[in-house]
């Protein structure tokens, strides 16, 4: 028994029920949710999208969208007051002072037109009765605490002058400056790169010990949960499924749903012993030969227009080159801005390169005219990251899947209808889905639709740009399985773009690590993931949260951006090349 267990809870939520809509449209988002938050404890509320994990926490601060959501019942006792039934004036006194919040999107949760300093001191002056000078001193102290250099200057900056990680640090400084009793962190690191995520998690842990703040951590990421939480509440469809200490939840989950959720989490290292992705079909189609060859690809994004400077620009790709065999998966990994998506789009000629060679099946893509290019697109299809935005909302699912066939004149009439139905069944959809429109599908189903659409013309190459990063883990596992199965039975080659090392380990034959527009390391999966030679690859791998509360992630290697080798690739082992 930890000492906290005997204390009185700081926050006690009982039978919280929240509904959206009214009458026939009434939809219960949270049903009879109860939990206690102890002083100094980190409670993780985990669940997939639609589980009610965010809504239940927004309700505590009176932040539910007015008119559409109603709190139908329950109580939330905090310092002798029921948060759910406080008048707006009183809840405002608690919000931003006793209970503070950090959000997922650090760009949009800071006001873009106000200086950091003003945003930081505002709450202090308001709630703590500090003078302006006092508040500023406190703000400076907080910025230092959250690890921002030169706080004097930061106070005068605007949010857009800071990177995503720095903005999230400012958000944390804002949230902690008032010395709150409870910090609600809603997916605090989801929008951040993995190395930045690791730093922010370290920071939150450090601050928690220093201030003794209780944290409610809302997340879908079991790795983050394992690293941060003392106790876990698992939610599904508005109900609490299970609650317990973090070690228990991970080692001996009682409920089937929790087990399923944990099983679906990709774990880095789970496939470390295998030289290739697992075989999921009885008789894989045998294909061989080089499918894609690229070399010397350069692309610089320049501002266009009369007054834009001609010299500078953002170099999105510098001297990028790789080969991809038929039936093989090459994973492009890297953080945001590394140029991995640009590379994927360049291979499909969705953007024009400044220079470089792209050969698909021996044909130089960059030499093809508009019409020839259009025909060549049949061989190479794409799956996009956002399954909500990449399907035209005004075209029915069946027509979307048929579209590439119509474009390339592959079939028509009854034959095409049959083929569409076949494709729907092939990717795990049902034939009565054909007449529906994209908005009637879930995220995972939409991604299946995208896959069916890509498959309809029997391509040899599929560029998959973060195909599962917008999906819940259980859905992600299904989509990855489907992709493996299709690859092996149809002999597809994938250019698999991802930021998730665990997913990459599951899917890839070979891995290329990109940083600032360059490939810094490329090689067979085992070489790159088990024996990384480039310091940046090592840092990336070390930052991945481990979904196991028993194991702790090692200390983050300090990388000095200035001295990272970013030159030409040189072979360190057979097929394993590292930037020098």
């Amino acid at each position: 028994m930890t000492p906290e267990m005997t204390q009185a809870p700081l926050l006690s939520v009982r039978d919280l029920t929240i509904a959206f809509g009214k009458g026939a449209f009434r939809n219960l988002a949270v049903q009879n949710l109860s939990y206690d938050l102890m002083p100094g404890e980190t409670l993780a509320i985990v669940g997939e999208s639609g589980s009610g994990k965010s809504v239940s926490s927004m309700a505590l601060l009176g932040l539910l969208p007015p008119r559409s959501a109603t709190i139908e019942g329950g109580s939330a006792l905090f310092e002798g007051k029921d948060l759910l039934h406080l008048p707006e004036g009183e809840i405002r006194g608690i919000r931003g002072d006793r209970i503070t919040m950090i959000f997922q999107e650090p760009m949009t949760s800071l006001t873009p037109v106000l200086r950091i300093g003003l945003q930081l001191t505002e709450a202090l002056v308001e709630h703590k009765d500090m003078s302006k000078a006092q508040a500023e001193a406190r703000a400076k102290e907080m910025l230092e605490l959250v690890g921002l250099d030169d706080p004097e200057r930061r106070l005068k900056q605007f949010p857009h002058e800071l990177s995503g990680g720095m903005r999230q640090r400012v958000m944390i400084a804002m949230a902690m400056a008032a010395d709150p009793a409870i910090l609600i962190a809603d997916e605090p690191t989801t929008a951040l790169d993995v190395t930045v995520q690791a730093q922010i998690l370290d920071l939150m842990r450090d601050l928690k010990h220093r201030f003794g703040t209780s944290i409610i951590l809302i997340t879908h990421d079991m790795g983050v949960v394992a690293e941060m939480a003392d106790r876990v509440v698992v939610m599904n469809r508005g109900r609490k499924v299970e609650e317990g200490p973090v070690a228990e939840i991970f080692s001996a989950p009682r409920e089937a749903y929790t087990k399923k959720l944990l099983d679906a989490v990709p774990r880095l290292g789970a496939f470390a012993a295998a030289a290739a992705p697992r075989t999921v079909v009885a008789q894989p189609k045998q294909v061989s030969g080089r499918l894609v060859h690229t070399s010397g690809m350069n692309k610089t994004f320049r501002e266009s227009g009369l007054f834009a400077s001609k010299s500078t620009g953002t170099a999105a790709m510098q001297d990028v080159g790789f080969d991809l065999d038929a039936g093989e998966t090459l994973a492009l990994v890297g953080e945001s801005g590394s140029g991995k998506s640009t590379t994927g789009r360049a291979v499909l000629r969705l953007l024009e390169l400044d220079s470089g060679v792209i050969e698909v099946d021996g044909t130089d893509m960059r030499k093809l005219g508009t019409n020839a290019m259009r025909k060549a697109r049949r061989e190479m299809q794409m799956i996009f990251q956002d399954p909500f935005a990449s399907l035209n909302p005004r075209i029915s699912a069946g027509r979307l899947v048929a579209e590439p066939m119509v474009i390339h004149g592959l079939s028509s009439g009854k034959e095409m209808e049959d083929r569409v139905e076949q494709l729907f069944l092939r990717v795990g959809l049902e034939s009565d889905h054909i007449r529906r429109y994209p908005h009637e599908f879930s995220g995972g189903q939409r991604q299946r639709l995208s896959i069916a659409r890509a498959l309809s013309v029997n391509p040899k190459l599929i560029v998959a740009d973060e195909p599962t990063s917008a999906l819940d883990v259980s859905v992600q596992a299904q989509v990855l399985d489907l992709m493996l199965e299709l690859q092996q039975s149809l002999g597809l080659a994938y250019l698999f773009i991802s930021h998730d090392m665990a997913v990459v380990e599951e899917m890839a034959h070979r891995v290329a690590v990109m940083r600032r527009g360059r490939i810094v390391e490329i090689g067979p999966r085992q070489a790159v993931l088990n024996d990384p030679r480039h310091p940046y690859t090592r840092a990336l791998l070390a930052a991945v949260p481990v979904p196991d509360p028993g194991r702790t992630r090692g200390a983050l290697p300090v990388i000095d951006a200035a001295t990272l080798p970013m030159g030409a690739l040189a072979e360190v082992a057979p097929q394993h090349q590292v930037a020098q």
Binding site: F25, R345, S390, L391
Partner: protein, 298 residues
């Protein structure tokens, strides 16, 4: 391939607006109060225009149908004007002209604006720059100035006024279309269509147009009220409808000198214009709500 498929592609476009979608649109429209009232007012206007010969007690142009400047009574429910014409009959027939103005003016500006905006937005590069700067230049003049300039060229008259109003608002529609096209072009589904190998025809008519048109339907519906007001304004100035046409704006202007003696000559045409404008505005709002996908998903 490109030519052969274009008819199939157009058929594709038409089929995308399935029956189920239409039904849910109408349900959403009728569920919103503004949509319901707007639809009612516009339907009433259309009914009056069509049934004018049946309902109207008198010929709208017949002088001395009753005594001059007779106040509203059982015989002449909206009174008579200075020529003894029945104001009620004139207003009923005026609905025909009003509808014509709305349809023709908005038709001209919508078609030309859509075409300009679509071409500019889709093509990008120099075509876009030249077209949009041209639109900007036109946009820097008030619409009424452009309309007056057109009337100076075409000559005075109601039909010319309609055309002039239509031309004057082309820049507005072109701009709206252009910005909507840019937004839609930036969405991943558009790139997905390119990646699938779609031709220009398919990209424009199947992917862009259906996503642009709903916005323009809303703008166009709201635009009808602007056009009606503009036409009334031009007629009031004597540049639009000519005597003895029963156009509402013209009726207003001819009542100018008789305000104190025969206020009904001014009140009823004024009310007719106000209600029509309100009706189209409400209908436009209702359509916007009904087309909003967030509303739809419920």
């Amino acid at each position: 391939m490109v030519h052969g498929s274009s008819t199939a592609e157009l058929a594709d476009t038409l089929a995308t607006s399935g029956a189920a979608r239409k039904r849910s649109f109408w349900r959403a429209l009728l569920a919103s109060p503004s949509g319901l009232i707007g639809l009612f007012v516009v339907a009433l206007l259309v009914f009056c225009a069509i049934a004018a010969p049946v309902i109207a007690p008198y010929d709208p142009l017949r002088m001395a149908a009753g005594p001059r400047l007779d106040p509203p009574s059982m015989g002449y429910i909206m009174g008579t004007d200075d020529f003894g014409r029945d104001v009620f009959s004139r207003i009923l027939y005026g609905a025909r002209l009003t509808l014509q103005i709305g349809v023709i003016a908005v038709g001209i500006s919508l078609t030309c604006g859509l075409l300009l905006g679509l071409v500019a937005g889709y093509s990008s590069g120099w075509t876009e720059r030249v077209l949009m700067r041209l639109v900007d230049v036109l946009f820097s003049f008030t619409e009424i100035v452009i309309a007056l300039a057109c009337l100076a060229i075409f000559g005075v008259g109601l039909t010319n006024a309609m055309i002039a109003i239509g031309i004057a608002s082309i820049p507005f529609y072109a701009r709206v279309t252009h910005s909507v096209v840019l937004v839609e072009k930036g969405k991943p589904y558009f790139e997905a269509a390119i990646a699938a190998g779609a031709s220009h025809v398919r990209l424009i008519f199947i992917h862009l147009l259906p996503n642009v048109v709903p916005t323009l339907i809303v703008i166009g519906t709201l635009g009808v009220s602007t056009a009606v007001l503009a036409a009334a304004g031009l007629s009031f100035l004597g540049l639009g409808a000519q005597p003895p046409q029963p156009e509402w704006g013209f009726m207003l202007s001819s009542s100018r000198d008789l305000i104190s003696r025969a206020p009904w000559m001014m009140i009823f045409p004024g009310l007719a214009i106000a209600v029509t404008v309100l009706g189209f505005n409400l209908l436009g709002d209702g359509i916007r709500e009904a087309l909003d996908p967030r509303q739809r998903q419920r």
